[in-house]
């Protein structure tokens, strides 16, 4: 089958990566609705999820425009979110990991937020004006995500013996998904050279130092970098996902797939 969007293939792929991180993490956070450990937390989780979903929609709307240049009218936000299969999603493996306990959820958020903020700051200088505009806007929202998740890492890490242990376990278990955030593949390499994409490898040191500072404040150990998931072009960014993802997607997509074109 002919590639429908040969010229903008990489840009489309890159924008989908940005979109899918937001959409997938928003879905995970939405799974907490009505089950948060306190009313304030229930509300905060879903507000963070709403921010990420709104950002995901802006990226998806741009992806559609790129696709429409070659295959008009292009798939709209709903089609892209609800009618793609697992292998077509481009999110990081980190954001699709299950919610687990509250420490698992906040550790996942913390590791992602710290990276997300750095990425958006870099992207706000993109030569692609649309990417720069969305990144500048999203960055204002992510600033509050960063504060909140760091707060929870400290609160649980420097809390009781049990909360400390759970937060350390969560950080340790998720660490192997952090390498992918800084892995640059062929799609990104060309866009970085064109000044469109952010150089993810350059985010690694600032990420590591600010993550380590919060973990130290939380009396937690920063894990050593061991074997990392999703490297060498075989990760979420290339459409290879963990076993959890299909289950999440089934729940996320069942309504749209069972009742095509449903409106309410």
């Amino acid at each position: 089958m002919a590639d429908p969007i040969p010229d903008d293939r990489q840009l489309f792929d890159y924008v989908l990566r940005l979109a899918d991180n937001g959409v997938v993490l928003a879905q995970r956070l939405g799974e907490w609705v009505g089950k948060g450990p306190a009313l304030e937390e229930d509300i905060a989780l879903t507000n963070v999820g709403l921010d990420l979903l709104g950002q995901g929609r802006m990226w998806l709307a741009y992806a559609r425009e790129i696709e429409a240049r070659h295959a008009p009218p292009g798939r709209d936000e709903d089609d892209l979110a609800f009618l793609r299969d697992s292998g077509e999603f481009r999110n990081l493996l980190l954001v699709e990991q299950p919610n687990g306990n509250y420490a698992d959820t906040m550790a996942r958020q913390f590791l992602f937020d710290q990276w997300h903020a750095l990425l958006l700051r870099a992207l706000s200088g993109s030569k692609d004006g649309r990417i720069a505009a969305i990144a500048a806007k999203a960055g204002k929202e992510v600033r509050y995500h960063v504060e909140r998740s760091a707060d929870w890492v400290v609160r649980l890490g420097d809390g009781t013996g049990l909360s400390h242990r759970r937060m350390q376990d969560a950080i340790d278990a998720l660490w192997m998904y952090t390498g992918e955030m800084f892995a640059v593949d062929a799609v990104e390499r060309q866009l970085i050279a064109a000044g469109v994409a952010a150089d993810a490898a350059a985010l690694r040191e600032p990420w590591r130092s600010s993550v380590a500072a919060v973990l130290a404040e939380a009396t937690l150990a920063t894990p050593a970098d061991g074997w990392m998931q999703g490297m060498n072009g075989r990760g979420g960014k290339q459409g290879l996902h963990t076993e959890h993802f299909g289950h999440m997607l089934a729940e996320m997509q069942i309504l749209a797939r069972s009742y095509p074109g449903a409106r309410w």
């Binding site: 304030e40 507000n47 963070v48 921010d51 709104g54 700051r121 806007k137 707060d151």
Partner: protein, 189 residues
Amino acid sequence: MTSNAPAPRPDPAEAAAIWRALATVVDPEIPSVTIVELGIVRSVEPEGGDWVVAITPTYSGCPATRVIESDIHEALAQEAPANVRVRTVLSPPWTTDWIAPEARRKLREAGIAPPRHGAPDAAGTAVPLQRLRGDRDASAPTGAGGGDVACPRCGSLRTTLVARFGSTACKAQYRCLDCLEPFDYFKPY
């Protein structure tokens, strides 16, 4: 219409009618303030014989955005000339610094502390660590907002952060340590 007919000269009275119509649209979450006062309407400009209303969204995921857009179309259909288009612009991004002084007063009257001036830099990751603990320590003079967020009811500056997200994504929950009432704080954006 012939293709080389000159575009009609924009009539300033039409622009005034459009602004009047826009000033009737309120934020569904905060009905005491209008979208003009919130800075959502960026401009009303003539363009090729039409009028273009430029609006900018507030929070990316704000559920009120769609309601506001449809309210704008409804208000314009009723009050404004027919040749009006609405365009959404993302850049420069909306900021709480665009909220008019009058709206700040109305927010306070509605029990919501208005945002402090000076929108924060987007997306720094370096969270000052003392802020993380200061927030929870009611005796700390300056937590994440304690110290510079005045209680909208009694005006006290002795307030403390309860949660960084309140009834909507744009607000945080605070508590006043003097009158003891909880209140929403419209976060700087």
